[in-house]
């Protein structure tokens, strides 16, 4: 008898729950609209991204293999030396647009000099050969990586070389692949806030050069977006190749812990200071504007400092200065804003271009 009474309550309760669930389901489905994707498609999207990542890893491995072969060949052609591409301080406007390079003893009709007339025998040594191999390897690897459809970061490796020859590239940062809700829609990225409170817009199409790391302070980023609008008005676009650099990164460049290995290429510190910002001291942020997040190296669509013509640099200057940036005279691709030492000095003078301050 007792059992029968409880079942009397149970049935209406089930019916009520069922009605509530059905009404809810109806409302949710009404809001969502019709199903456009089959069930499980997101899981498949995740698998696809996983496969993409595996393909990218295979691509990196193969690229490294080919780059090493090419680097060994080129190293021989360069006599164990290398031409390191640096932001040299030019002595004249003509030199400004020349390909800068540094080699310890120079070249003789295309051949790197090993021994000079004055008995100088320091043109070539084992350290230099190793660092040149890594440098040439890195240049070749970057050429491969920039051709891959995925945004594979460049300058992302700490290199180790073993006899035999084996090059080990230890990645500083992970390869990140976006899982998109809709593959047909662009992945319009907004800057992600970094721990330093800066905006990371790495991978943002047509603003950050593929493979480059792009981080700026928020005010500088807003100014950059303004520059992009100005560029669009002139039928082009600009791409950032370098922005914020942490102090640790600057120290790594100075101490030769990057593929450029400036410490081996330019052992003389006072000479190296001409090409690489000295990362020590209390005034480091004033001397090295990239450390503030308010300085950018920027080029017109897909161009480099070697392929930019004089007219291109003039156009870039007009785009950037009209948005409020100040150009550094000695590096026509370098612009600063928002309170850097050079920016303030230029503003005080009422100019949009300035040299050393």
């Amino acid at each position: 008898m007792k059992k029968k009474k409880s079942s009397l309550f149970f049935m209406p309760l089930i019916v009520i729950i069922l009605i509530i669930v059905l009404v809810n389901l109806y409302i949710v489905l009404l809001e969502k609209g019709p199903f456009t994707k089959p069930i499980g498609s997101r899981q498949f999207d995740l698998f696809k991204v996983y496969l993409e990542a595996e393909k990218s890893l295979l691509f990196i491995d193969q690229s490294a293999k080919y780059s090493l072969q090419q680097a060994i060949y080129e190293l021989g052609q360069k006599g164990g030396s290398s031409e390191i591409d640096i932001d040299e301080t030019p002595d004249s406007e003509y030199e400004l647009y020349e390909t800068p390079f540094y080699s310890r003893c120079g070249k003789y009709y295309g051949y790197f000099i090993w021994y000079k007339e004055n008995g100088q025998n320091e043109c070539i040594d084992e350290n230099r050969i190793q660092s040149s191999l890594i440098y040439i390897f890195k240049i070749n690897l970057d050429k491969y990586l920039e051709r891959h459809p995925t945004n594979i970061p460049q300058n992302n490796y700490n290199y180790e070389i073993k006899n035999g020859i084996e090059i080990i590239g230890k990645a500083k940062e992970s390869l990140r692949l976006d899982i998109l809700k809709d593959e047909n829609k662009p992945s319009a990225k907004e800057p992600i806030k970094t721990s330093e409170g800066l905006g990371d817009f790495t991978g943002k199409e047509k603003l950050c050069r593929k493979g480059k790391k792009c981080i700026l302070a928020s005010e500088a980023y807003n100014l950059l977006e303004k520059s992009q609008e100005k560029a669009a008005e002139k039928g082009t676009w600009i791409e950032v190749t370098d922005g914020y650099r942490s102090k640790e990164e600057q120290i790594a460049i100075w101490e030769g812990n990057t593929a450029d290995n400036f410490k081996v290429a330019i052992p003389n510190e006072s000479l190296r200071k001409k090409f690489v910002c000295y990362p020590y001291g209390n005034d480091v942020e004033q001397r090295c504007p990239h450390l503030t997040g308010n300085a950018v190296d920027v080029f017109l669509e897909g161009k480099t400092k070697h392929t930019m013509s004089v007219a291109d640099f003039k156009l870039l200057y007009s785009i950037m200065s009209s948005a409020g940036w100040v150009r550094y005279t000695k590096e026509p691709w370098h612009f600063e804003c928002c309170g850097t030492k050079r920016f303030e000095a230029a503003k005080a003078k009422g100019v949009t271009e300035i040299g050393e301050v």
């Binding site: 489905l29 090493l68 035999g164």
Partner: protein, 319 residues
Amino acid sequence: METRDLVLLMTIPIILISLIIYTDTGPAITGTVVHEPAKESNILGTYSINPSFKAKENYDLTDYNKIRNSFDIISNCAQSKDVQSCINDINANDNFFTWSLGCDKGAEKVLYGFAEFLQQCIDSEENNCLCRKKIDITKEDIQSHIAPYNEYRISLTENAALKRIYMSIQEFPSLSYSVKTRGISGWMPKIVTLGYSLDGLTSYNIFFINEIGDTKYSFGPIRQVIIYKHNLNGAQVIDFVDDDAGILIYPNRKPVTENDKQIETASLKECQTKPDNIYKFCVTKKDYKIMAYDKIDGQVKERNFTVKFAAYIPPVINP
């Protein structure tokens, strides 16, 4: 089965579907490999992976030390013999490498050959003399290293302030060189073209632009390049000239004169070049080939591994 069991059974899938839909409207997938994206973004999450790598090639960098050791032997030997004989001696005894004096090919040979000729003429300590260079590019060189063009075009740009002439081959932008002028100026070409077919050289032309009036002149086709080095109003001058039936002429076809007299080519001596005692060496590793690209022929193929370098060897001092 009782009715209530049936109803319960029907309820289960409905509840499950509802759960799925509710979950779908919440935050995106989270876990070890994905993270929550910004709102209203098309990005569901990010998959990250460590892209470290390892690459290996059967080659040893100690080759450079072996080459340096052999060079020391050549350098010592060159105090009693000529460098080529010393290289022959080394080649007879070296099981690992083959040595040669220079190994420029194709575009490199054309550019550096021209640059070396011009630099040596500028550096010559003599005056009122001629520097001559016979145009030579062998059939073998053309057939082995030719690029898919039928012309090399050297562009020259003079920078008076830097006292340099910059030259490059248009088809090979990465090939360039600058010659130090030491402030010497004169009739300088703007473009030098060298045409060829698979059988050999077909034409050699030099083009000039007179900046006063922007007039264009040319020499060609020619078989030798001639530079006239002389003094003009106390300043040293180098002029590219041509031989027109034994008389020297400027690019504007006017004869070269001295004290209003035309200068005969035969009356001038050859400028003696100053030896710099720097030699270009190419050391090729035996029994080793490597797959690589070379901009000179624009191909990826198996190639010999060659170390190229230049080195100063002191001249032999006669007792």
